[in-house]
Point group: C2
Chain length 518, copies 2
C-alpha cells in the first residue's frame, strides 16, 4: 500500500468521504489510488475556485469536512478566495495541496512556489507530510484540526513521492477535540448583564444559528427582554415557519449602528464583534456604541448552542417561545423587480430547500419575503470574496441528495466560478440557479457614492458596468450542458421556477432584474 | 489632489499607461481618479485571473509594464496563478492590491487577510504604502523594481485611505536600473568553453529570444560549432522566415536529456538550468549530463542580448548566419487532427501575428509547421499554471492594436479564464482563438502513465475526462458576445480561419481534435 492509498483510507475511516478536486501531474498517484478506495467519492471541478467552495458548501450541510485535492501553489491560488470565505465561515475542510516530490523541490522547477505561505493566509492548521510513514497520521491530525470548534481549513501539503512510496498503511481516526464548556465566570457575568435591565443583545453566528441555538437564544431573550440578532453573513442559518425568526445585522454600517444603538451589553455567541465591512472616510470602523460591554461566550472552542442552552437553563427560561408563522406571499405578476423576484421565490420554494444566497443588491427583499416559508437553510457569502454561490450550491447538493438547492446569484459574482455548472451536470445535482442579471456591479455603484468619491466620471462608471457586452447566461449555461431559460417578467419567472423545481438535475434561470435604486 | 490621483499620474509619467482591473469597494477612489488622468487606460476583467495574465501579455509585447488593480487578498488570490506564470516569465508588472484603510486593518473585517504573505509568493518586490505622502514615490519605485532586469512582479499594497487622503502630488519617474555588463572573467570562461572543442550548448531564454539575441547566439554557434536551444517555455520568442530557427528544449525530461546528451558546457543566457518539470519515480530531476559545466551569463541583471553580442564580437564571429527560409505547408484537407490543425495555422497565419500557445498536447506539431511562416512572436505558458492563454492574448492585443493575435488554447485550460473573451469584445481586440477540444486533460493521461501509476481504474480515468458533459465552446463564446463557429474537419478549420483572420474583433473557432496518441 502506497502513501496515497494509506492517506485516502485514513480519511474515509475518519468520515471524510468526498474529495473535490482538480488534480495535476504531482497528484496522479493520489488520483490512481481513488480506484483502490471506492468509499471516497471524487468530484471533478474545472477550476479550483469551484473545488474549494464546493468543499465549503458540502461541510456546511453535511456537518463534517470534505477533502480537496489541489495542484501545487497555483491550484491553491485559484482556490484561495473561496478558502478565504470558508475561513470566515469556520468551515472544516481538509485542504490537500499536492507538491513536488521532496527531492525535487530544491530545483525550483517551473511550478515551484511558497505553498506554505499561501496556505497560511487561509488555514488554521498547515502541515507538510514529509514521508509515507507519517502521511496517514498527518491525515488523521488534519481531520481533527479541521473539525475542532469552531472549525477551520486544515491544509495538508502532500509531496508526490509521499504518495507513491510504500507506506505502513492507514491509521485509525484520532479522537475529535471535545468542545469546551462555558466557564462559570463568564456565565455569571452574562447572566448579570441579562438581568441588569440594561439594553442587551445576543449576536449569534456559526453553530448558534441552527435550531438548538436559536431556540435557546430566544428562550433567553423572552425571559430577559434581550434582543437577538444574527451576524450579517451566516454560514448556515436554519429558518422558516416553526423556528424563531431572527434578523440579520445590516451590511451597511449606518444601518448596523442603528440596530446596535443603545446596546450596553453585547453577547457574542459564535459571532465576531461587529465592525464595518469596509472603511469609509469619516465613518466609524467599530459599530458597537461607546461604552458597550462585549462578552464572548464561545471563545476557546465553546459550542455555541451548548453555551446558549446553559445560560437559558441557568435563567430558568421557559421553552415556550414565539416562532415564525407559516406564510407565503401571493404569486407575483407584472414587472420583474427585486421585490417580485423575492415574492416568486417565497411563493414557490419547496419544503426543506437549501438557499444559497449571493444575490447581493438584487436579493434585498429575499430574507423578509421568505421568513414564513417552510423550513429551510440559508447559506451566505461569509468572507466578501465574490464568486462563492454556484460552487457552494454544488457542494451543498452533494451533501444533501434528497433536498433541492436554490442558488440565487448575481451576474458579476456568477462569472467568477461559472464552471460549477458543469460539475452540477456531471453529478446530476438538483440545483436551481437564478442569475439576477442587472448588467452591473450594482453594489459598487452604491459603494462608489458611499466612499465619498465626489465626482464620478464616465471611466469610473464604466468599470462598474458589465453591459458591454451583455452576458447571455442562457448560452453560457447551455455551453456547460445546463438547461436554461430567461425570465423578463414576474410571470415568466414564476412559470420557469415551477418547472425548475419539478425538474431533476440542474436548471438555470436568467432573471433580468433592473438594478435597485438605493 | 488625492493619493489615488498622484499615484496614477506618477504611473503614467513613468510610462505605465494601461491598468487591467477588477476593483472593489476599497479601490473606489482609485477608480474615481481614473477620470482625472485620462492617459491611463483602464480595462475591466470579469475575473482577476484575466486581469493578471492580460498584464503579463501586455508587457511581453509592449516591452514595458502595465498596472493591475486587485481587490484585497481574495482578488490577489484569484490572480495568483497567472502572477505565478508572470514571475516565471520575468514579466514586469506593477501589481497594485487595494487593502482596507490603515486604521481599519486592526479590526479583522471579513475581507482582511495576509496580503503581504500571498503577494510574496509571486513578487520580486512587495511594498505597502502607508501614507499619501509616500504613495507617488512608492509607485515610481514599483516601476523601477518591475523593470529591473530580468523583470519581475512588483506588488504595491494600497490602503484605501492612502488613496482618498490629500497628497503632495505626483513625482517624476525614477531612473531605471542600468543593465549590468557581462563580466570579463565570465566572458573569458565562456569563450574558453566555446573554443574548447568540447560539446557546448547555448540555452537561451527571456530577452535572448528576441531578434538581436538570436542573431548573436547563432553568430557564436556558427563560429564555434556550439548548438543553440531555447528554454522549453519562452515568454516571447521571435521567429519565422528571415530569423534563425531555434529548437526548444523538450517538455518531457526523457527527450530533454537526449537533447542535452554529451554537453560539456552549458551556457545559460536568460534561461534557468534545465530540470524536469515534475519529479517521477526513478527518473532524474537534473537534466544536464554528469560533469556538465554550467555558466550563467545573465546572473545579476546582465542584458541577455548584450551578453551574446559581446561574446560574438569577442569571437570575431561573422554576422552572416543561416536563417529560416520562407515556407508554408499546403492548406490541409480531410480529417482534423493535431497535424492538420498545425498545417492550417501555418498555411494561413498572417504576417506579424502574435501566437499565444497554450495548446498543450494538441499543439505538438505547431512549432515545426510554422518555422518558415512570416515573422511572428510566440508566447507560451511559462509557469505551468494552466489558464493563461485567453487573457494573455487579450493583453497582447491591447499592446499591439495593429497586429492580429492568434490564441491556440486547450479545452481544459480555456475553462480556467474563459471570461477573457468578454474583455476582448469590450475592447474590440483582434484576437482569433482556436479552442482545441479533445474533451480531456490529455496531458494528464500521458502523465498518469509516466508517473508509474500501475493500475489505472475508471475513477482515475474519469478525473482526466471532461466529456461528461461535453463543453460547447460555441455557446460559451456566444454567451460573452464572441462570434464563434465549430470545425470538425481540416477543411472547415481552413475556411473558418480564413474568415476569422479577415474579421475585425474577436472570433473563436472550436476545433474538435482527437487526443493525440502518445
Amino acid at each position: 500500500m502506497n502513501g496515497a492509498q494509506a492517506l485516502i483510507t485514513t480519511l474515509v475511516d475518519a468520515g471524510v468521504e468526498v474529495c473535490f478536486t482538480n488534480p495535476g501531474t504531482s497528484e496522479m498517484h493520489f488520483v490512481a489510488a481513488l480506484d483502490d478506495v471506492p468509499q471516497m467519492r471524487a468530484i471533478l471541478g474545472l477550476f479550483e475556485g469551484v473545488v474549494t467552495a464546493a468543499a465549503d458548501g458540502y461541510a456546511r450541510i453535511a456537518g463534517k469536512p470534505a477533502a480537496t485535492l489541489l495542484h501545487l501553489g497555483p491550484g491553491l491560488g485559484n482556490g484561495l478566495a473561496n478558502l478565504h470565505n470558508a475561513r470566515r465561515a469556520n468551515t472544516p475542510i481538509v485542504n490537500i495541496v499536492g507538491d513536488h516530490a521532496t527531492f525535487h523541490k530544491q530545483y525550483d522547477a517551473p511550478l515551484e512556489s511558497d505553498i506554505d505561505a499561501i496556505a497560511g493566509s487561509v488555514s488554521g492548521w498547515v502541515h507538510r507530510s514529509m514521508t509515507p510513514d507519517d502521511v496517514a497520521t498527518d491525515a488523521a491530525r488534519a481531520v481533527v484540526a479541521a473539525t475542532e470548534l469552531p472549525g477551520r481549513v486544515a491544509t495538508l501539503i502532500l509531496p508526490a513521492d509521499v504518495c507513491w512510496l510504500e507506506s505502513p498503511g492507514p491509521v485509525e481516526p484520532l479522537p475529535a477535540m471535545e468542545p469546551t464548556t462555558l466557564g462559570s465566570d463568564i456565565e455569571a457575568a452574562v447572566v448579570e448583564a441579562l438581568r441588569s435591565g440594561e439594553k442587551t443583545m445576543l449576536l449569534l453566528g456559526g453553530g448558534a444559528l441552527r435550531e438548538d441555538g436559536l431556540r435557546a437564544a430566544y428562550r433567553i431573550a423572552e425571559a430577559t427582554g434581550a434582543s437577538v440578532m444574527s451576524e450579517t453573513f451566516p454560514a448556515r442559518l436554519e429558518r422558516g415557519a416553526g423556528l424563531p425568526s431572527i434578523d440579520r445585522l445590516a451590511y451597511l454600517a449606518e444601518f448596523a449602528q442603528m440596530q446596535l444603538d443603545g446596546v450596553k451589553h453585547l453577547l457574542l455567541v459564535g459571532a465576531a464583534a461587529p465592525v464595518s465591512f469596509f472603511a469609509y472616510p469619516d465613518k466609524a470602523s467599530v459599530l458597537t456604541p461607546d461604552g458597550c460591554q462585549i462578552h464572548d461566550l464561545t471563545n476557546g472552542g465553546v459550542d455555541p448552542a451548548a453555551a446558549l442552552l446553559s445560560v437559558a437553563d441557568h435563567l430558568g427560561a421557559s421553552t415556550d417561545i414565539a416562532v415564525a408563522a407559516a406564510h407565503r406571499p401571493d404569486v407575483p405578476t407584472g414587472a420583474l423587480t427585486s421585490e417580485t423576484l423575492a415574492a416568486a421565490v417565497a411563493a414557490l420554494m419547496p419544503e426543506n430547500v437549501i438557499v444559497v444566497d449571493e444575490s447581493n443588491t438584487s436579493g434585498l427583499f429575499l430574507h423578509g419575503a421568505t421568513a414564513g416559508c417552510p423550513r429551510h437553510d440559508w447559506l451566505t457569502l461569509t468572507g466578501g470574496a465574490i464568486g462563492i454561490g454556484l460552487p457552494l450550491a454544488t457542494g451543498a447538493a452533494v451533501a444533501a441528495p434528497d433536498r433541492t438547492v436554490l442558488c440565487i446569484e448575481s451576474d458579476g459574482s456568477a462569472m467568477y466560478t461559472l464552471q460549477a455548472l458543469w460539475t452540477q451536470v456531471r453529478e446530476q445535482l438538483d440545483v436551481v440557479t437564478i442569475i439576477c442579471n442587472n448588467s452591473s456591479y450594482a453594489v459598487l455603484n452604491m459603494e462608489l457614492a458611499r466612499v465619498g468619491a465626489d465626482r464620478v466620471g464616465p471611466v469610473a462608471k464604466s468599470m462598474l458596468d458589465i453591459s458591454n457586452p451583455d452576458l447571455d447566461f442562457v448560452a453560457l449555461a447551455n455551453g456547460m450542458g445546463v438547461a436554461a431559460t430567461r425570465a423578463t417578467t414576474a410571470d415568466e419567472l414564476v412559470e420557469q421556477l415551477r418547472t425548475a423545481f419539478a425538474t431533476p438535475g440542474p436548471v438555470l434561470i436568467e432573471a433580468i432584474v433592473p438594478p435597485l435604486s438605493l
